[in-house]
Amino acid sequence: MAGGKWLPTAELTSSGRPVLHPGEVECSLLSSVDLDCEENPSFPLFKSGLLILTTHRLLWIPDTTGSSSASAIPLSAISHIFSTKKWIKSMFASPRVRFQVSSNAQGRVDDKGSRLTVITLVLRGKSDPDSFLAKFWEAWRGRAWESSGPSGSESGKFGPGDVGGSSAGGGLRMPVVGVSGILRKEQEMWESTDKSLQDAFQDLNALMSKAKEMVLLAEKMRQKLLSGSNNQASSANDEEMGSKEEMQDWLLSVGIASPVTKESAGALYHQQLSRQLADFVKIPLERAGGMINLIDIYCLFNRARGTELISPEDLLLACSLWGKFDVPVMLRKFDSGVMVIQNKSHSDEEVFSRIKVLVLKPDALRTGISASDAAITLGIAPAMAKEHLLTAESKGLLCRDVSPDGFRFYINLFQEINLDMVKDHGTYSAWITATFASR
């Protein structure tokens, strides 16, 4: 699309959610919105897309999936928002919101530009233009981009990981020398945390305004711990390392700065929630080996969202919407009814081959394996391991042994067994060797 010539492009995640700047929070979402510029005849048609208003930008994402050409208008470039005119024709036409942005000499929107252009938003969907205008006005007047440093103007160049290092320089710049350096840093950290907490609990409004700061604080601490443990890996003892890792994990799970809520997304709630969830599950999925229980994700997701909790029904609905989007994860239901989230690239074959290696070990040939044996080898929860074993059984790879000793799985020899003869180099003869050698 030619839009990139006139508007800065915005980065999207693989599931179609915008990549937000540090400290950026979504305020409102509208569907079926056109962007138009009457003064510029070569301005391309931005027709019927999803408009997201954040504290920093106006984002426009085309409806057609697969195209990555989302556009962004930094609120810092806006110099005026016109109030809607009430006239008779507006009762029949779609509501419009017009605003003035600065652009450079070529007409491209740029907050340092010298020319002024008027851009019109045409709201075709069912929406309340007045409340949107109020939110728009509020976000623009809030000037959130000024408080988060110079990053506001450079749209589309910031990933979520850029918070550390560069922007963490809030005054705590001391050389990290030895363990005492880290200790001093942490001491300072706790003091400022303590202060923030006291401030935050003054009243609820103060807490709300501190929320962003808290997230930033958590992020900063994570970075500090990370760099600390890298530098001092050799001198720090194991226990300290362990607790630091734990701390890191907690801090990592703090992080959805701008959760999709029913208020901000309205009718688009489940769709947007679904996309955000698809982005969120990537890291936990990776850690869990490509498959994770739905219940675990429910806990992790809600903890990451902080106070904007979602219900199990919403989670399930969000997961079941994945089929409609091009996201790299999917919901899977086992025959037993257990529901899990797995990577689309996660293949049963790979799991099966690892199970096969496990059951072909001489000990396993003789005594079989239990779900917990498989769980240890595969690095997953026993309940999940059992699902894998049952799937492998249904494929004919394994067979079961139910006895007073418990429920165990063996390599499936049945197809190889013949009453008359034993093949010399088959699994059956390997089993015979393993079984009768020990007697």
Binding site: C399, R400, S403
Partner: protein, 179 residues
């Protein structure tokens, strides 16, 4: 090699899943096949005609690996034999199962060969003589189950190869061959 009396057990008799009824179709079919063959083999060599699934049966458990077939599994394997005509339930409650390692037709052929081999084409014999007489010693007819023998004889009678006489008691039943 593990043995049950003088019966050589196959190696897979020590494979624990062999004693658990497998739920997966393909695996289960192969398991049933192996059990059917083993049951017939064992019964033929040990001259066992009746299996009672509710009672102890040496083939249905392996103390060496502490496994034994559940009642459900026994019934499944025996029923599979029944459906192939290699066994028959003797009552509605499935408490007794008649194992036919030879089908009735095959038993009838064996009787005819026995008659010819011993030159008994026109003689008269009692049922007990066939089962335990000197002539049948060393043949498969020796110690044959009475029910099986009667079924085979009735089949032959139906074909006109012999006539069954009723005596005053069950012991006196006799046959006149007319091959």
């Amino acid at each position: 090699m593990q043995k049950l009396g003088d019966f050589k057990l196959p190696q897979f008799f020590n494979y624990p899943p062999y004693f658990t009824l497998q739920p997966v179709k393909d695996t289960r079919e192969k398991q049933m096949q192996l059990w059917k063959e083993l049951i017939l083999d064992y019964c033929r060599t040990q001259k066992i005609f009746i299996i009672e699934p509710e009672k102890e049966f040496p083939l249905f458990s392996n103390p060496a690996i502490e496994r034994s077939l559940s009642h459900e599994a026994r019934e499944v394997f025996l029923s599979a034999l029944v459906s192939e005509g290699r066994a028959e339930w003797m009552d509605k409650g499935h408490r007794k199962c008649l194992i036919l390692w030879h089908r009735i037709q095959d038993w009838a052929d064996l009787i005819l060969r026995f008659v010819k081999d011993n030159g008994l084409e026109d003689s008269v014999m009692t049922i007990e003589e066939i089962r335990s007489g000197t002539e049948s010693r060393g043949t498969e007819l020796h110690e044959i189950d009475r029910t099986v023998l009667m079924r085979a004889l009735k089949l032959l009678e139906h074909k006109g190869k012999l006539a069954i006489f009723k005596g005053t008691s069950a012991d006196d039943e006799g046959v006149k061959f007319s091959v």
